[in-house]
Symmetry: C2
Subunit: 139 residues, 2 copies
């Protein structure tokens, strides 16, 4: 059944300067082993994931100057980057938001790791806490 209700906090991204150091610290704090390090060259990031319940906690290190994540890190410092909320149909949910006047960063979903289909809500729509919609297959 296709529902327009959000299903879960699918992932939370934390942006850091040094992925290896952050992974070691989070492994200690969480008591959970991370996934192997991954790269998304098109986005200019390396990342590692920790699974907590139904949510991925993802540490992200930007690797390319002038990329959106590098600019976020330079402007805001290390810390929370965004939370991604899973929906059944990201295009349909995006259309609904636009129809209500909510501004989005991209019209066509970006593709993340494992083919996740991502649409970003403009940061000032959600009072500084960036929200992303994500449609995923099984994981």
């Amino acid at each position: 059944m296709i529902s327009s209700l959000p299903k879960r906090i699918h992932h939370i991204d934390v942006v850091v300067h040094d992925l290896d150091r952050a992974v070691e610290r989070y492994r200690k704090v969480l008591g959970v082993d991370p996934s192997p390090r991954e790269s998304l060259p098109g986005r200019g990031i390396d990342l590692a994931r920790f699974r907590i319940g139904e949510t991925w906690l993802i540490l992200v290190q930007p690797t390319q100057p002038e990329s959106p994540v590098m600019r976020f890190l330079e402007d805001h410092g290390e810390g929370f980057f965004h939370m991604a909320i899973e929906v059944d149909d990201v295009e349909s949910s995006s259309r609904n938001l636009r129809a209500q006047g909510v501004r989005l960063c991209n019209d066509t979903p970006r593709i993340g790791v494992e083919g996740w289909r991502l649409v970003d809500v403009e940061m000032d729509e959600t009072f500084g806490a960036m929200v992303q919609l994500v449609e995923v297959g099984e994981d």
Copy 2:
């Protein structure tokens, strides 16, 4: 069974200047109705909660000058405040972290809404993204 593994992202707090405005916006973006507004005078906050999957997304407005949340808002602006990770036994988990050299903000759990028992990890232990341990009953 008592497990030392984290069970879920129990809640994510977002700190805002104006709770009523933020609640209206998040209601639109999430397509979910919030809980009634609540107050925690001892902590100096008002809050409203949205349920997403197994996680509470909580909007928090500080109401008292000099309180920790007000200082965070003044220093960092609106946005993500912390994520709380559910554990079975917050005292046991805190002892384990301390034994590994992870610094915590409080030795005795603070009490949140609905009797949640909370211990905060020092912010610089987790690269700017504040992590909290929480032990809860049923919810």
